[in-house]
């Protein structure tokens, strides 16, 4: 069963707290992604990971970092969350590269107050 799982699904944090969003996939896909989605701004790429410990910044990496120690897991970390990081975060995976289908997780809704 092809699935991308995100945890937690909903999260409320205070400004300045650390946030960990986790993502797992069961398809052995090499490439994984973190996007954020805001009303009117579409989907914006934060980070892309080509495989274990092979990560690259996307279009809006500032304020975020990532970790990929196993092919099936990709984490997004916010050190000292800011209110403008309130958003819905989507993890996705694809076979090899973005020229193939991206499979998205259910999303993690983060509110920073």
């Amino acid at each position: 069963d092809m699935k991308v799982t995100q945890m937690p699904r909903y999260l409320i944090k205070r400004m300045g707290e650390n946030v960990l969003l986790e993502c797992g996939q069961d398809m052995s896909h090499e490439t994984m992604y973190w996007y954020r989605q805001d009303p009117g701004l579409g989907l914006q790429l934060i980070y892309i990971s080509y495989d274990v410990d092979s990560n690259s910044e996307g279009d809006i990496p500032k304020g975020y970092r990532v970790s990929r120690k196993k092919r099936e897991h990709f984490s997004l970390i916010l050190d000292s969350a800011k209110t403008n990081q309130t958003s819905v975060y989507f993890c996705a995976s694809s076979l090899y590269d973005s020229g193939n289908t991206l499979y998205f997780g259910e999303g993690s809704r983060l509110i920073v107050v």
Binding site: G42, Y96, G99, T101
Partner: protein, 112 residues
């Protein structure tokens, strides 16, 4: 600037009509153009995709028309159904070093 542009922002059609969604892109190195759709409170999912070797891709009631020279493409939804009501994202990619670049989306409402 926006690498992938979509128009209109929103579109309302009656059941049975054809909805036409437009998309244009900047980067001529893009070689893969998927359309994703997203229903409220759900995640995006692949609907249909095209590569520049073709100028048309059809899947049931959904057809992509592609014009490489003008860097434009469009998605036609024929015989629109209320269940087609969703936000449609045009995307571009294919370069290993890039993720998919998404447009801002077109919100389609189909009324019975």
């Amino acid at each position: 600037q926006q690498q992938v542009r979509q128009s209109p922002q929103s579109l309302t059609v009656w059941e049975g009509e054809t909805a036409i969604l437009n998309c244009s892109y900047e980067d001529s190195t893009f070689d893969y153009f998927p359309w994703y759709w997203q229903f409220p409170r759900e995640s995006p999912a692949l609907l249909i995709a095209i590569r520049p070797v073709s100028n048309k891709k059809e899947d049931g009631r959904f057809t992509i028309f592609f014009n490489k020279r003008e860097k434009k493409l469009s998605l036609h939804i024929t015989d629109s159904q209320p269940g087609d009501s969703a936000t449609y994202f045009c995307a571009a990619g294919g370069n290993y070093a890039q993720g998919l670049t998404f447009g801002l989306g077109t919100r389609v409402s189909v009324f019975p």
